[in-house]
């Protein structure tokens, strides 16, 4: 054990399937551990032996660059043996079932599974059928818990106490797992959460999650302490619920001009990958308020924390 890590504490959760239902103590512990790992990442020897002998498989059934690299980096920094498996979930539909694929891989003696999948709840199926520790790297528009944790970590670096602070998620809320996980996490930490975007990108009864819905971006910019700008999936929308990217950019794209009305210390996050010129302008994406590359580094640190803390349950997840 690397003595830079101190004593390992235990999480109440055995798997990380979503933020919903998690307790504040668990999130606090993950954040605290993430900070330790970030400090280690700042030293010349970035590697710890914490997961030596442990095998982690990254199963990605949807395209991902950032999240996949981030998890792989985290696993390697922890000295785990890493296996990568990528396929489109539609190929699963034709051939072998998800359960069979996963059981085959598990039969090769793996300990932890990180999975991204297009179907909400696919991780629950995996958990019910495997003995491995399951970590959700995104399931449809349901949850993306490690994204919420890294976003939280990044915000807390600037705003240690989120109580009463207003955080706005901007853009495509209805198709966004990032939005769902962020809402759950931010509420646990006492933030006031607001969602902003065109009404057709707001899912039904979203207010019941305890968030405020606002359509006017300028008003949202004025009252926010933090804005998390979600990616517009370019291929998805134009049609019955979305007139054009031009209109989107004009009314919901973040520009320096619009930011002029913001509080001086407003924080701008983006989970990436960015569509410059659509939801965010160049001068904002590279500007003084953004913490986008901090999010990337925090992503590795917080995923190290999640893997490390959950590894305590290996062999006894059920």
């Amino acid at each position: 054990m690397d003595d830079r890590l101190g004593d390992k504490q235990l999480l109440k959760i055995k798997h990380l399937l979503g933020i919903k239902g998690m307790c504040k103590e668990d999130l606090d512990l993950i954040l605290k551990t993430s900070v330790s790992f970030k400090q280690i990442l700042d030293t010349p020897n970035k590697k710890v032996a914490a997961l030596k002998g442990i095998t982690v498989v990254n199963m990605f059934f949807e395209n991902s660059t950032r999240t996949k690299i981030s998890f792989e980096m985290a696993e390697k920094r922890l000295s785990a043996d890493v296996l990568n498996f990528a396929a489109s979930s539609s190929s699963l539909k034709k051939g072998e079932t998800l359960i069979d694929t996963a059981k085959n891989i598990e039969a090769m003696k793996i300990d932890m599974v990180v999975m991204r999948h297009s179907t909400p709840g696919a991780h629950k199926m995996l958990m019910d059928n495997l003995d491995s520790i399951i970590i959700n790297a995104g399931d449809g528009a349901h949850e993306h818990p490690t994204q919420a944790i890294l976003d939280l970590m990044t915000i807390v670096e600037h705003i240690p106490d989120l109580k009463g602070k207003r955080v706005t998620l901007v853009g495509d809320i209805v198709h966004s797992r990032v939005a769902m996980s962020n809402i759950h996490a931010l509420k646990i930490f006492g933030a006031k959460v607001q969602v902003c975007g065109p009404s057709t990108l707001m899912p039904r009864d979203i207010e019941k999650m305890g968030v405020e819905v606002i359509y006017d971006l300028n008003e949202a910019i004025e009252n926010s302490d933090v804005m998390n700008i979600l990616r517009i999936q370019l291929e998805r929308h134009v049609g019955a619920s979305f007139p054009s990217l031009r209109e989107y950019h004009n009314y919901w794209g973040i520009t320096n001009e619009k930011l002029a009305r913001a509080k001086n210390d407003i924080l701008i996050l983006h989970p990436g990958p960015m569509n410059r010129g659509v939801e965010i302008d160049d001068d904002v994406a590279d500007g003084d308020h953004q913490v986008i590359l901090d999010q990337v580094l925090n992503g590795v640190a917080s995923r190290m924390a999640v893997l490390y803390l959950l590894s305590a349950n290996i062999g006894g997840a059920k």
Binding site: L92, P120, G121, G140, H142
Partner: protein, 441 residues
Amino acid sequence: MKKMINNINLSEPLFKPVAKKLLIKNGTVIDAYAEKEFESDILIINGVIEKIAQSIKAEKGCEVIDAKGMYISAGFFDMHVHLREPGYEQAENIVSGTNAAMSGGITGLAAMANTTPCVDNKFILKDIQSRSKELLVTVHQIPAVTIKREGKVLAEMTELAENGALAFSDDGNGIQSSETMKGALEYAKMFGTPILVHPEDHSFTEGVMNESFTSTELGMSYIPAIAESINIARDIEIARYVDGKVHFQHVSAKESVELIRKAKKEKLKITCEVTPHHFSLTDDKVRTFSTDYKMNPPLRTQEDVDAIHKALKDGIIDVIATDHAPHPSEKKNVEFDFAPFGVLGLETMFSAGITYLVKPKKLSLMEFLKKITVNPRKILNLEPDLLKKGRTAEITIFDQNKKWKVDRRKLKSLSLNTCFHDDTHYGKVLYTINNGKIFKA
């Protein structure tokens, strides 16, 4: 797929010939047609009701069923079933499906046309009719309204009606073209048969569950309630215009119920059905991510369930029918998005009604029985008055209070996809009699 339970081959008929003389003694007859309940014995000779009277003496050689503490009703009828034969025999076949039906007290059923090939012509209809003979359960095959259920060209409805079609349905598909729907309703008027409508506007993005706060939290793709009610509103307009006979299948949304309530006030020829899962469960169940709760129309909200209970009580909903939709486990045991829609129903129709409607006093036993005996037969122009001397004995004997645990492995269907697995249900069918045959649970 299940092939056997306890060494019983599920693809073999599970009934026996009824005794030459059979006396049902000490039971309570509940006749939902006459709306009467009385203590009485029933004597059946050669499968035909000979006598309904008190204290009938058992003659020599007469078999006796002691029905003390049990109810004797007309056999149940399920007007919405998928038997999967031909084309999907891995999920169910005519024999296994009717085994499941009689084990649920059902003596007659209407089978939908979404088989492969589709039942859209006389030859396939006659083939299925010939393969459904000699069974305890009377199978009424319902042909499609349009060729291949594509909603474009009408099937040869006159010939189909002449060959025993009691109604027509493109079930599984909503008829998208208003013109086709108008044509079908006008054409069917000639033989007085209703069109059974699967109300769905397919222009809404394809979803997997109800659009609600639950779909928002789960991030699931959704089907809004209005995908159903818009189609119902349209077809009420068409029915009024052509004076046609429409029966709405598996109504699930409160909006739909309200439209039908208004149409009935106008005395239009409109009837409708609800499935047991839509009066028992809400979309909250989808939070388990179990594909046992994936059906179309999807489970809705508590508000919808409350509206359905009220409409059942008020007589706005005429019929309870199951939409029995077997799927083999390898098709259901996949990610929610990829699983087919549909759940089993035949073996839990009665017990779900007792458990979720009669026990909580949403309906009286008589009101409930009317919706699974008299009303579906009336809608399909079948004889609804069955408990009479001289009629074929078509009888279900049940214990209203008997508790049992639904176990998917013990159901007679070849498939496992019940949405009531592990639930405790009240009401158990003990004997089902029809066509000179008897099934004992």
